[in-house]
Amino acid sequence: MPIRTISIWMTGVPLAIAAIGFFFSFLASLSPSFYFTWPYFLEVLSAGLLQGVMYSLVALGFVLIFKASSVFNFAQGSMVLFAALTMVGLIEMGLHWTLAFVVTAAVMVLLAIVIERVVLRPMVNQPHIIMFMATIGIFYFLDGFGQTIWGSNVKVLDIGIPKDPIFVLTGLVEGGMLVNSFDLVAAIVGAVLVAVLAVFFQYTRIGRALRAVADDHQAAQSVGIPLKTIWVVVWSVAGIVALVAGIMWGGKAGVQFTLALIALKALPVLILGGFTSIPGAIVGGLIIGAGEQVAEVFLGSLVGGAIQDWFAYMLALVVLLFRPQGLFGEKIIERV
């Protein structure tokens, strides 16, 4: 990213947060029932940001596949569920979690190969909407398949990440800020994952090929990049990202059917950040996570609560009206 963009974000984000904070404190001064203090606001904000990292993890898988094959992969959510179910199943069979992780990763690679063979290859050159429907088919299939094999009970996925709430920044803010240590670990894992992906894309041979394919399918093919192999690789990487997301979400909320529906939460993240941008998925996730948490806590009670269901979509919709390609997406150029 150019330095200018980064500097705009570095100054813009604290300003926006401060502006929202002052707006709320103004509201609080108007009516006594509106509870607002700065430490509480920051606490909610940080909880939202950490939640946003979890959304980003799911959105990342979408972006990888969309970039390389222009397929809008609705099945990412069920891939998360399937990976988590497989991992839990293997751990329950007595495997150590590191071994289970490796085996599950292998299963996800296998899944990618099967999907490429059975679904993608016969459907080359179909319109995007047909490919999209096919991934909804995969979504249903994987949902049923995973639960047929591993059962549909709520399972606990525990690989030893601490879950105690801890206080941070006790020196800066009075009383410190309450943060869940699990969320912190998730944030770190997310950051590591993004760093690994960035290195993979930037410095390896396959990574360069992936970027070439993302840039232009035909040109990539004409210089001898095997498109089919690339698709398998990219679906495998998305599968492994889904596995990491599955471990994090599964550890937080238990492994169950509803895990597949977090894909729906990742969609506004995607359109906010842009379908084709990995930094977009990260920043979009953070904005959506923080935005919906702050809105739910401070504004939700005014309109009846549970606005989390749709707030993210409305936020993304408003952003789209000003930037139709999302915050970081490639500028859409249309010609007749």
């Binding site: 459907m123 995007h128 096919a134 088919g137 398949f145 969609l267 993304a316 919709l317 859409i332």
Partner: protein, 359 residues
């Protein structure tokens, strides 16, 4: 041999532009309608009417609505469930606030109300395209269902959040909703209503407005250059599509289930209708009917098949297997015939023309 138009000459533009230009088609349609009106109510039991034919007709209506928007105008929408909820709750509020209003009028008015909501959520389509728009329509889906669920004004402060259709008659003693309604009346009413609406939709797509939708679908910039107003074309597609979907939602709540809560119109309902138009055929009114029949019949078939084969599988496993087979079938269909069942029907007709000769 039988299915040939040889010797059928058209002497007017009207005859040339007819929906069924071939005599055999007209006869076949007349026979089918006669069977649907006379034979089926006599033969089919209440189970068939209530659980298969009534939802089939209701879903056909929704599929026609979505097909107008997605198949003809090319705007991918995932908000069908939300618009159906709109229709259902508008109809409920109208019929309880004005008890003397005729039930058909209630349906049409709730469709009109939904059309306004559709225009509102269609405005972003002027700037956003493709999958961005699809995700944006999810905002409609989640917001509308949340609204009907959260504000008790919509269900007249019923503690369970469920709305029940008040008993209303089409005319005289023929009750369409409520406990006195018989499956036969429901079926016949829906048959007539949906047929008329389908005919309207078919003619709409053959008219100037339908052609402008198709131009927008095929390439919106080119359409704009040849003088089609994208604002009018896109918003009219959203309005008319929502009108149909809203009516189908009202029919769902009033005629099919009788009582319904907002959560019945969740995202899965949207996907269900989307599957119908994809399986049936994008940009085809006939395809909407075929797709609706397929999606309504398949779960019933899948859940009865193991028992019929003599296998004893636990209910839970059956429901998971259903998911799997459903997904696999969708993929299979898309690979074999991405243009849907309507295209298969067309190919069949072409073949029938030459039969018994190969070419």
């Amino acid at each position: 041999m039988i299915y040939r138009e040889a010797g059928q000459f058209k002497s007017s533009y009207g005859a040339d532009q007819a929906i069924f230009p071939i005599l055999q088609d007209r006869i076949a349609v007349a026979i089918m309608l006669a069977i649907a009106v006379v034979v089926i109510p006599l033969v089919a039991g209440p189970y068939w009417l209530e659980t298969i034919l009534v939802p089939f007709l209701v879903f056909s209506m929704a599929a026609i609505g979505l097909n107008l928007l997605t198949g003809y105008c090319g705007q991918l929408s995932l908000g069908t469930g939300g618009f159906m909820a709109c229709g259902a709750f508008f109809a409920y509020k109208l019929s309880t606030a004005f008890p003397e209003l005729h039930i058909v009028l209630v349906f049409l008015l709730s469709g009109l109300g939904t059309a306004f909501v559709g225009i509102l959520f269609g405005i972003p389509s002027l700037r956003i395209k493709g999958f961005y728009l699809a995700v944006a329509t999810l905002a409609a889906q989640f917001f509308l269902v949340w609204m009907f669920n959260k504000f008790p004004w919509w269900n007249n402060y019923s503690p369970s959040g469920v709305i029940s259709a008040p008993p209303r008659a089409v005319f005289g003693d023929f009750y369409l909703t409520g406990t006195q309604a018989t499956p036969e009346i429901k079926y016949l009413f829906l048959l007539a209503f949906v047929s008329v609406m389908a005919l309207l939709a078919k003619n709409l797509t053959r008219s100037r407005i339908g052609r402008s939708w198709m131009a927008i679908r095929d390439m919106d910039i080119a359409a704009e250059i040849i003088g089609i107003r994208p604002l009018f074309a896109k918003l009219s597609a959203f309005a008319i599509s929502s009108f149909y979907i809203g009516i189908s939602g009202a029919l769902w709540a009033f005629v099919y289930t009788g009582s319904v809560e907002a959560l019945a119109f969740d995202i899965n309902r949207s996907f269900q209708v989307l599957f119908m138009i994809i399986v049936g055929g994008l940009g085809s009114i006939l395809g909407s009917f075929l797709g609706a029949a397929f999606i309504v019949l398949m779960p019933i078939f899948l859940s009865n098949a193991p028992a019929a084969l003599g296998l004893h599988i636990s209910v839970e496993l059956v429901s998971h297997m259903e998911f799997m087979i459903f997904g696999a079938l969708i993929i299979f269909f898309l690979i074999v015939e991405p243009s849907g069942l309507a295209r298969l029907w067309q190919i069949g007709k072409e073949k029938l023309r030459l039969w018994p000769f190969p070419y």
